[in-house]
Amino acid sequence: MDDEALIKKIAKGDSQAFESLFQKYKALVYGFSRRLLVSESLAEDNAQETWMKIVQYAPQYQEQGSLKSWIMTVTKNTALNTLRKRGWEEELSEDSSEQIEDSSLDLVSMMENQETMEKLKRSLDELPERQRLAVVLWMQEEKSYEEIAEDLQVNLNAVKVLLFRAKQGLLKMMKEDL
């Protein structure tokens, strides 16, 4: 059964359909929550709230893009709401004199093998909050700088600075770890 059929059944309260969808995406919802929130317990709470929202809003779901994208958006928005409520940890510096260039760090190539992937995950967790969020949104959702700026409620220049610093930080940590 495809995703669209499952969500329609969930909208009617079908437990089996929920089970199928849950089994398919539970690791992604939880893993994405972990990358956004770092803490295991926060990520578990986030995953739980996300699944509750998916069931709650299933009757209103309209096919726009894939269901997977919708699930990822719900996961992300739930996590960002948690962080906003708590208050951003990191003070933003928008030093325009800082050179903003795309670093040579190729994150996608780092996903080639399991070991490097795990190191990248650990390094991501070490980044300051907003830098981590900028990188995770950029990686997972392939979002534009403008969209990331909107999600993080910062301006475009701040996103560029965050991503630049994040990549530099990751590169440094990865080299130390290797």
């Binding site: 309260g13 992604l28 939880y30 990358r35 578990e44 739980q48 699944w51 009757p59 996608v108 080639e112």
Partner: protein
């Protein structure tokens, strides 16, 4: 599966899965109740509509046969007087219900006039 998805996937614990299942039960039940009540509303709507149409159809058919009988017995009689329905009422009703087609109705009205 995309490489990116593999990177973001992380195994959940059975305990956590169980907790989520419990947490969504209330929302699933609510969805079921809403879907059930919507279905019932439609069902009631259709049964009322069907009942209404059935009754109207019987009245219309009866009117038609009474009209025919009255016409054959006494062509001058005002056919719908007993039913307190005007010929126009019956025409609209019958056409709405597709009991009498347009041609029949025209003939009927011509005969009546």
């Amino acid at each position: 599966m995309k490489k990116k998805d593999l990177f973001f996937q992380e195994q959940t614990s059975p305990g956590h899965d169980e907790k989520i299942h419990r947490a969504v039960q209330e929302n699933l039940l609510r969805n079921k109740q809403i879907a059930g009540s919507e279905k019932q509303s439609w069902s009631s709507f259709w049964s009322i509509k069907t009942w209404g149409f059935s009754t109207a159809a019987i009245v219309a058919v009866a009117s038609y046969f009474i009209l025919q009988r009255n016409k054959s017995e006494n062509p001058d009689i005002l056919a719908f007087a007993d039913l307190e329905m005007t010929s126009e009422d019956v025409e609209i009703l019958a056409m709405d219900l597709d009991i009498i087609d347009d041609l029949e109705m025209l003939e009927l009205m011509e005969e009546e006039s």
